[in-house]
Symmetry: C2
Subunit: 358 residues, 2 copies
């Protein structure tokens, strides 16, 4: 994560995952979510917080989920309906359940299909927020598979290259690939220059936004550093056509097609609700598994030991820093903004819970 | 294509595809390639030239292929060996054949598997240049499938974010998705800021390079417009970390994993030869086909009719301009640089052929 997004030191409250996990589970339970789903949804949030993916941990979205359960936008006990199925594919109606537990269930189906047939892909609609694509893609790794997870999202955020009105969401995509002794490759990114909830995080921590992250309200890329503007649209990865924004825009369109059109929702900008696409590829359906893992080690080590360019300390690969951060946070606790802990104390009282935060 | 890459008007020689196709086929045949493979390889080059993808048409690479056949790096009559196979997957030894005809054969296998089982994926190693990923991905469309094609490539071109030495190639990826009445979505891009052979094209037509396209020889991104430098490395899509280069770098790594590690070649920077990954997804294994196509029309039309930002004429989606260019070039001929036509005249004499160019 960029330095500007970290919680300022003075505002940090360290909470161990052992304390935060039952607190979060109890909130889900109090809202009517089943034990199993509460545990699953919390596990997604905890993994994001441990990996340093604050934008998808408890800080930003948990309060939103609470509001959605209360307004009826999310169903606490959703039906999970298989609408269409083949040996390798399925399309699921998620019954308006939260993606944090519906997506893992869909991914498990994709994994089962890949175990039997080599590959599996499952799409989901009528579902709430995925909570980051990385967790779900990573599920495939322990089965010696490559995992892919994507989500379309509220398509009123990203302007197409040259466009003055938004047509796409942040449309994240993740690939997770197991290795041997090296931390796995986990590539989990939005197809915008910057994640939508990184913008609210920037506003909260008072961070500046970099040139090329967003456009003004007319679609013109803002190419100077500055505060988070009142009105803005997200730009595709690449920012401007000369810098390759048509590539970010195209990737976002791929996600819209796989997650929204392919599950029957239609274009994201019309559906205005998320859809998911999860895929698992069994590695030994293509090549020798042990050799693959050893080659992955070689690849990842080769990337991580690339001599750094002037002014840089080292080269990283996707997932490496997150693995290091997990070690650190398991030992030291997760640094939350004090405002987040206040929110927890508030909801604790409101729902009559007892978190026993130290 | 950016204006700077177009052949300058004074240097243009228009040749119809009806003239260029048999000329190119006859060159392949003269080098020992079978009739069928010569026709297939030429079809890839012609489609690229018609779509305006000059970097992967006859101008840049055909002379390189000729040199590779002559040096023995490419086999004119390659074996196509299935090394491993499941219902949905296969890994192919391409016998050092040219990717322009080996990749379509692998893609046809993936399509067959998808027809029977919903999805199919085929990897290839021991193979020459793919000739652009778009053509191969597009093959799936006429079977009402989504096509995906990727190729790892000489991994001495792209520096990782913060890196001073190259570890990855341009590693292109393409997705092709059929629609109804709208031209299909064909997204075909390198994961670098700029394609490697766009740099040689820029040198040939005397075009400037844009800020953020390449780094200097120490890995530092060059952020000013200028001439093509003597020594440079390609930057990942995003250019710099602040502009999201870790995303382009991660995508390039995904391609390296799927195309190089998953086919048994090991890391691209060690293998230093291309590998392919082709995938086909049968649309009606997920959702209703007619509805999908009509939703695709809505999506693509919605993107194309986005109000433009100040200073821009219109918004495009991936594949739209290429479809328009194809119409134009079928009518007017393909504008080649006169130097390319001279090369054709030279090889015509050398191989004792008769192109009958008007």
């Amino acid at each position: 994560m960029l330095e500007r997004f970290k919680v300022p030191e003075a505002d940090r409250v360290y909470v161990s995952v052992e304390e935060m996990r039952p607190a979060t589970e109890s909130i889900f339970r109090a809202l009517g979510v089943s034990d199993e789903d509460a545990v699953q949804a919390t596990d997604v949030l905890m993994m994001n917080d441990l990996r340093g993916v604050e934008s998808h941990g408890v800080s930003n979205m948990l309060r939103v989920y609470v509001a959605w359960y209360r307004s009826g936008r999310l169903q606490a006990q959703p039906e999970f309906t298989i609408e269409q199925e083949t040996e390798t594919t399925a399309t699921i109606d998620g019954g308006q359940g939260l993606g944090l537990h519906v997506a893992p269930r869909a991914m498990r189906m994709a994994i089962e299909k890949a175990r039997e047939h080599g590959m599996g892909a499952v799409g989901v609609h009528a579902v709430g927020h995925m909570g980051g694509a990385g967790y779900h893609a990573m599920m495939a790794m322990e089965h010696d598979m490559i995992g892919i997870a994507m989500s379309s999202s509220g398509s009123n955020q990203m302007v197409p290259t040259f466009g003055a009105e938004p047509r796409l969401g942040t449309n994240p995509m993740a690939w997770a690939v197991p290795a041997g002794r090296m931390p796995p490759f986990v590539f989990d990114v939005g197809t915008t220059q910057v994640a939508a909830n990184k913008m609210s995080l920037a506003r909260r921590v008072g961070a500046k936004i970099a040139p090329g992250w967003v456009s003004d309200e007319h679609g013109t890329p803002l190419m100077e550093e500055g505060d988070v503007p009142e009105k803005y649209f997200l730009l595709p990865l690449g920012s401007t056509r000369e810098l390759g924004s048509h590539k970010g825009y195209g990737l976002a369109t791929v996600v819209d097609i796989l997650c929204s059109v392919l599950v029957g929702l239609g274009p994201g900008f019309k559906a205005m609700e998320p859809g998911f696409h999860m895929m698992a590829l069994r590695i030994d359906a293509f090549t020798d598994l042990a050799q693959f893992k050893s080659h992955m080690d070689e690849l990842l080590e080769g990337l991580a030991t690339t001599p750094p360019a002037p002014g840089h300390e080292r080269v990283l690969y996707a997932g490496q820093l997150e693995a290091e951060e997990t070690e650190l946070r398991l030992a030291e606790g997760i640094p939350y903004h004090s405002e987040v802990i206040e929110w927890f104390r508030g909801i604790e009282a409101e729902l009559g819970l007892d978190f026993s935060f130290t």
